[in-house]
């Protein structure tokens, strides 16, 4: 993957339009999704995503070709989102991306489960949410997440673990977790 990234970057540095398009295609979904999660607003995410790629191509010559490209690009996205959040007025409304629903409406509580997870994510503090999204949605490993967030691996693990516990707690509070009774516990129904 790194060799493939390096070849693509070299073509981009020669202003190859197809290479530029290919690089955008490869990373725009992840960049945009991360921005939506961090900013909790689609329009802001769109603006920041454009800003991210402008900065990516402007500083592409400084990318270390021995390292994977995705963490470097996502690191730029995280920084831009942080800057954007520090400069804008806090919006009181819920994240607009929560209106996104699953493609099918299953007969069980799956849609409700998805909604509760999305709400729980939106309520996490930004660093926790970023770590959670990078791991569970984008499949990044701890070392890459640490590089993206510019924090030690231990810090990233702590953030992710705490984020999970908060999400789990919300699922329990919202009745998404069935009560499990073991054989050793007395059956109160028998009196």
């Amino acid at each position: 993957m790194s060799a493939d990234d390096a070849a693509l970057v070299q073509r981009c540095l020669r202003d190859d339009p197809e290479a530029i398009q290919a690089l955008v295609d490869r990373f725009q979904t992840d960049v945009y999704a991360l921005c939506v999660h961090m900013l909790k607003h689609r329009h802001d995410a769109e603006d920041v995503s454009q800003e991210v790629f402008l900065r990516v191509f402007r500083s592409l010559g400084r990318w270390d070709s021995t390292r994977p490209l995705k963490p470097w690009i996502m690191g730029i996205a995280v920084n831009r989102c942080r800057t954007w959040m520090s400069q804008r007025v806090r919006r009181p409304e819920l994240a607009d991306y929560l209106q996104e629903t699953a493609a099918a409406a299953p007969a069980d509580d799956s849609s409700e489960l998805v909604h509760e997870i999305q709400v729980a994510l939106a309520e996490l503090r930004p660093d926790y949410r970023t770590a959670f999204v990078l791991f569970h949605e984008q499949g990044m490993v701890y070392d890459d997440i640490a590089e993206v967030m510019d924090r030690p691996v231990g810090t990233v693990k702590t953030w992710l673990h705490r984020a999970r516990m908060e999400v789990l707690e919300r699922l329990r509070q919202r009745g998404m977790v069935p009560e499990l009774v073991t054989a050793k516990e007395p059956d109160v129904r028998k009196g």
């Binding site: 202003d15 339009p17 530029i20 398009q21 955008v24 295609d25 725009q28 979904t29 945009y32 999704a33 939506v36 999660h37 689609r42 769109e46 995503s49 454009q50 800003e51 790629f53 402008l54 900065r55 191509f57 402007r58 800057t83 520090s86 991306y97 996104e100 629903t101 699953a102 493609a103 799956s110 489960l113 998805v114 509760e116 997870i117 999305q118 569970h136 949605e137 673990h161 999970r164 999400v167 789990l168 707690e169 699922l171 329990r172 998404m176 977790v177 069935p178 009560e179 499990l180 073991t182 054989a183 050793k184 516990e185």
Partner: protein, 220 residues
């Protein structure tokens, strides 16, 4: 196994790593309802994460980005927060100084008094400390002039008592005028001086209160 170890295995499970020996964990979950509940929640979280809809970018985003990159559009500048704060402080002090100067020149023109002080502003750029000092001096001077103006105008509002004419068939009656309210004026002036740092509206409110308290004050 205790709860701490159970939660560590919960995190391992959510990391997507297999648990090699489940027996101790299963034994603990039989005994501990809390850990059993958390592990059940972790199962539901894993299930839900697989169902989360993928956030997709708008269709036009790709073409917009490529166009901007090919045009080499400039990126938005990133200002350092501390630079922003410094700029705000300097701008606020400069605005205060300009406002004070504007009022100062306006007041001295209207009062026409020879003892009005004019705040001289150096044309060359001054340091932040000097600007703060000048602004403070200007504000104090402005406060004193405003207080003097207000006191003077308030005096004009105090009605002079109309002496009653003497009766024709009686001895002239000395109309005893109310003694001049010297102590009240002194208190008023001392209060005005003491209130120099206070806003103009507070001083005017106090002077109006004094006027309403005794309308028969006589100016010496």
């Amino acid at each position: 196994m205790n709860c701490t170890e159970s939660l560590e295995l919960l995190q391992t499970r959510l990391d997507g790593m297999p648990i090699r020996d489940r027996a101790p964990l299963d034994a603990h979950l039989i005994e501990c309802a809390e850990c059993r509940s958390l592990h059940a929640a972790a199962g539901r979280l894993t299930e839900g994460l697989g169902l989360l809809p993928r956030i997709k970018p708008p269709v036009h985003l790709r073409s917009v980005i490529v166009q901007k990159v090919l045009r080499k559009d400039p990126v938005l500048p990133t200002r350092q927060p501390w630079l922003r704060r410094e700029a705000l402080y300097v701008a606020a002090m400069a605005a205060s100084l300009m406002f004070a100067l504007f009022l100062g020149y306006g007041w001295s023109g209207r009062s026409g008094k020879g003892d009005s002080k004019v705040v001289v502003v150096r044309q060359e750029p001054a340091s932040l400390t000097q600007s703060v000092s000048e602004a403070s001096t200007a504000m104090v001077s402005l406060g004193r002039r405003t207080a003097a103006e207000t006191v003077g105008q308030t005096k004009m509002l105090v009605p002079e008592p109309i002496p009653t004419p003497p009766q024709a068939d009686s001895d002239p009656v000395e109309v005893a005028l109310a003694p001049p309210m010297i102590s009240l004026r002194e208190a008023q002036e001392s209060m005005t001086v003491g209130l120099n740092p206070v806003t103009t509206s507070a001083r005017r409110a106090f002077n109006l209160f004094v006027r309403d308290m005794n309308p028969v004050a006589v100016e010496q």
